[in-house]
């Protein structure tokens, strides 16, 4: 279960960021922000020739003593960042991938909505519900 889920736009500003309110959300915001550097690093690592074959799932970006950060970048440079609590039973990689897949699908649905302007913060209730299912049920 994720502690914080964020959707970052191509220009590296957050389209959607939501974290478990029990903990200081600012910390997660900062974590997500710093994780962007790691994302860039991972992307740049892949040669331009492999750009088309770049895998969307970036895997574990970096672990800290409290939590782990996973990244996922779409072909349109929209990044999904999931922060999971390390104390949780370590989630399998497949589980993280499935979470990202759900996020991506949900994000695509948001994009399909003609009333949504790309670049606007995501305010879709459906998207919120998907994220809620993935967040830690701490409340």
């Amino acid at each position: 279960m994720a502690v914080c889920i964020a959707v970052i736009a191509k220009e590296n500003y957050p389209l959607y960021i939501r974290s478990v309110p029990t903990q200081g959300e600012l910390k997660f915001h900062y974590t997500v922000h710093t994780s962007l550097d790691v994302v860039e690093e991972k992307i740049s690592g892949v040669g331009k020739a492999l750009a088309d074959q770049r895998e969307l799932y970036l895997g574990l970006l970096y672990p800290t003593e409290d939590y782990k950060v996973y990244g996922y970048m779409t072909n349109s440079k929209v990044k999904f960042v999931i922060v999971v609590d390390s104390s949780n039973t370590s989630l399998r990689d497949n589980e993280i991938r499935s979470m990202f897949r759900k996020l991506h699908n949900s994000f695509t649905d948001v994009m399909c909505n003609p009333f949504y302007n790309p670049g606007d913060p995501i305010q879709s209730k459906a998207f919120d519900s998907i994220v809620s299912t993935m967040m830690v049920q701490a409340f």
Partner: protein, 668 residues
């Protein structure tokens, strides 16, 4: 029948809502008016008896409305009588004052068999009608007797809808009794009224009372009813429908609504089996003036296949949700079962989506939601058109989506769809543009405001008439002469102006801007004058004065620039509050004259007394004026350039945003 709105006895005017008008006109027709408009006494009596009011009350009503006095029931009297009966049924005394406000429609029971049928069906049909309107509370069907009494607007609206497709009143939106929805109703009503008269159906009555009781009928209901207008036989259908298992479900699409939606769908996409693209649908739904987040939510709910386009059922669902939302229903988190594209009501026979009345008759009680959606699409189209038409008739139309879509409704139901489409399109682009602008170009708004501000700024500098006023008093010939002499080059005509010498340099007719050039030429011209020597001698003074002038001017609004006054004092004259200040500056700056006296008089006096150095003064004044003009011209130029810059900025921003939108597709 619309004259009922001015129903009055003895000249008193009582306004009637659209629903009331419809009902009354229907009742009026029912009472078999003869050529002169008088109603058959027998029918009227029968109607009155059907209201179930005590005989005394009926007598009172007859007396108050003036029929007793006249000896017959004319249209006005009849309408007033109906209103009085509604008031009486609501418990109010039978007085003209009682009918001044909104009242539920009078309830007439037992006028016709159908009427009776209607009543029992009313509750059910009304409720079965899309509850969007009001049946949130799911109020049970009202007993007919309670109709006049205030009921849940929802239920009343529901009932009305059920009742009067021909009457069309049913749907009057609970919200705005006046505006509304009467449009579609009104339009329908008129058509149906006559039909009703033929059929002897007083269905409108029950529906009307309901309408009245819920002034704030949901426009939604109204719309579905509009298409019904053409369906005279829809009344029968309604009756049948009443028997259907309608429940208080605002999320159920009625037949009329479905037909309406179908029409709307057709306006966007002729092929009912095709998809409406997202952008097209967005433009269309944006016209409903719902906030974008809500529209976004509605889209999420209705686009079940998540393909970014709407199929016909999806469109009906979305439209229905929008109508519901406009009527006040909160949007559900998930799609109600009745709105799902696959929902099919038992026993519904999908009728061809046309405005023709025939198909309506064929309709079974329940419309298949799926099929209904198709029909609804057409219905929606019709309804949107109808509301538009009715909106014309009724200026109080709610800001319903249909209204927005087709503000110009044509009473003729058959023409509605056609016109609807035509009117719909013009509206949509306008709405779309407005919405698009609001969403995508916030900056333009700000820039336009700045532009406006700038324009405003530009305007002040050219107050031609000012100098005249100020100068009028100090129209000393001497001054004129002074100015004339000084202003040789640029404004000979100006100088030769009348006594308003003060402003001579500045021609009232000309804006300050052109003088700018003149200023420059003026100064050289003045320099070239015979007073060159003097000018040269005072050149330093000129600059000094000019600076002072400009500094003073700078402090003033641009208005100051407009009238370049030859004389600094004159200049001040243009600005009363500053005159004393100016004068002081000038006298101080100018070596000669002490403008101690009243501003104007002092100026004149000083001018006259400053004869000795008139040329110098003149030169100074001319210089000042020239500077002013230059300032004005430059200011104007600056503002214009800034406006252009804004426009260019805006364009740049637009292009950048477009580029950004196109860029994501690029890899890495």
């Amino acid at each position: 029948m619309d004259q009922g709105s001015a129903a009055g006895t003895g000249g008193t005017f009582i306004s009637l809502s659209d629903t009331e008008q419809r009902c009354y006109s229907g009742l009026y027709a029912l009472c078999q008016p003869d050529s002169s408009g008088k109603l058959a006494a027998g029918k009227v009596a029968e109607l009155f008896r059907a209201s179930q009011l005590p005989a005394e009350t009926l007598h009172q009503v007859t007396e108050v409305c003036g029929a007793k006095r006249l000896g017959y029931f004319g249209c006005g009297q009849f309408y007033v009588a109906l209103k009085l009966m509604a008031a009486a049924q609501a418990g109010l005394p039978v007085r003209l004052e009682s009918v001044a406000g909104e009242l539920p429609l009078p309830l007439f029971i037992g006028i016709t068999n159908e009427l009776e049928m209607r009543y029992p069906n009313h509750p059910s049909t009304n409720e079965s009608q899309p509850h969007i309107l009001g049946s949130l509370t799911g109020s049970a069907p009202r007993p007919p007797a309670d109709r006049p009494v205030l009921r849940h607007p929802d239920t009343s609206t529901d009932k009305q809808e059920a009742w009067s497709p021909p009457r069309s009143p049913g749907i009057s939106p609970p919200r705005s009794p006046s505006a509304y929805r009467s449009y579609p109703y009104g339009a329908q009503r008129n058509g149906t009224d006559t039909l009703l008269a033929y059929d002897g159906k007083v269905a409108g009555c029950p529906s009307v009372p309901q309408e009245n009781s819920s002034p704030s009928h949901y426009s939604l209901k109204l719309q579905p009813e509009q298409p019904v207008i053409t369906r005279v036989a829809s009344v029968e259908r309604l009756v049948e429908r009443a028997e259907m298992d309608y429940s208080d479900d605002p999320w159920r699409i009625t037949e009329e609504q479905h037909e309406y939606y179908t029409n709307q769908f057709r306006s966007l996409q002729p092929d009912l089996s095709a998809l409406i693209m997202g952008t097209v649908a967005k433009n269309f739904f944006t016209k409903s003036k719902l906030p974008i987040p809500e529209l976004s939510h509605i889209w999420e709910l209705s686009d079940v296949d998540k393909d970014g386009a709407l199929t016909f059922p999806e469109f009906c669902t979305a439209f229905h949700l929008i109508v519901a939302r406009k009527n006040g229903y909160t949007l559900p988190e998930t799609l109600p079962a009745t709105l799902r594209p696959g929902f099919v009501e038992p026993g519904v026979v999908p009728a061809p989506p046309s405005e023709a009345t025939e198909p309506l008759i064929v309709f079974d009680d329940n419309m298949m939601p799926g099929a209904n959606q198709l029909e609804m699409g057409s219905v929606d189209l019709q309804m949107t058109s109808r509301p538009g038409v009715t909106s014309k008739q009724d200026t109080r139309d709610e800001s319903r989506k249909p209204e927005e879509f087709s503000p110009k409704r044509i009473p003729d139901p058959h023409e509605k769809p056609i016109q609807h489409v035509s009117t719909l399109k013009p509206d949509s682009p306008q709405e779309l543009d407005a919405n698009m602008k609001s969403r995508t170009r916030p900056r333009s708004y700000s820039s336009t405001s700045i532009d406006d501000a700038m324009k405003k700024v530009e305007e002040p500098p050219t107050p031609p008439p000012r100098p005249q006023k100020t100068h009028s008093r100090a129209s000393s010939l001497d001054l004129n002469k002074l100015f004339q002499q000084s202003a040789q080059g640029s404004r000979p005509s100006q100088h030769s102006l009348s006594a308003k010498s003060g402003w001579l340099p500045r021609p009232p007719a000309l804006p300050p801007r052109p003088p700018a050039t003149q200023i420059f030429s003026f100064l050289p011209g003045s320099e070239k004058s015979s007073q060159k020597a003097v000018q040269q001698a005072n050149f330093a003074d000129f600059s000094k004065f000019r600076e002072e002038e400009s500094s003073v001017r700078g402090g003033l609004s641009t208005e100051d620039l407009a009238p370049p006054k030859l004389d600094s004092t004159l200049r001040h004259q243009g600005h009363a509050p500053q005159k004393p200040v100016r004068r002081k500056l000038h006298p101080e700056s100018q070596s000669a004259t002490p403008p101690s006296a009243a501003p104007y008089s002092a100026a004149t006096l000083t001018k006259s007394t400053q004869r000795p150095p008139p040329k110098q003064k003149r030169e100074i004044q001319m210089a000042i004026r020239k500077n002013r003009e230059t300032n004005a011209v430059l200011t104007r130029l600056n503002s214009e350039l800034q406006q252009q810059l804004k426009v260019v900025h805006r364009e740049r921003v637009t292009l950048e945003s477009q580029l950004e939108l196109l860029r994501p597709v690029a890899s890495t």
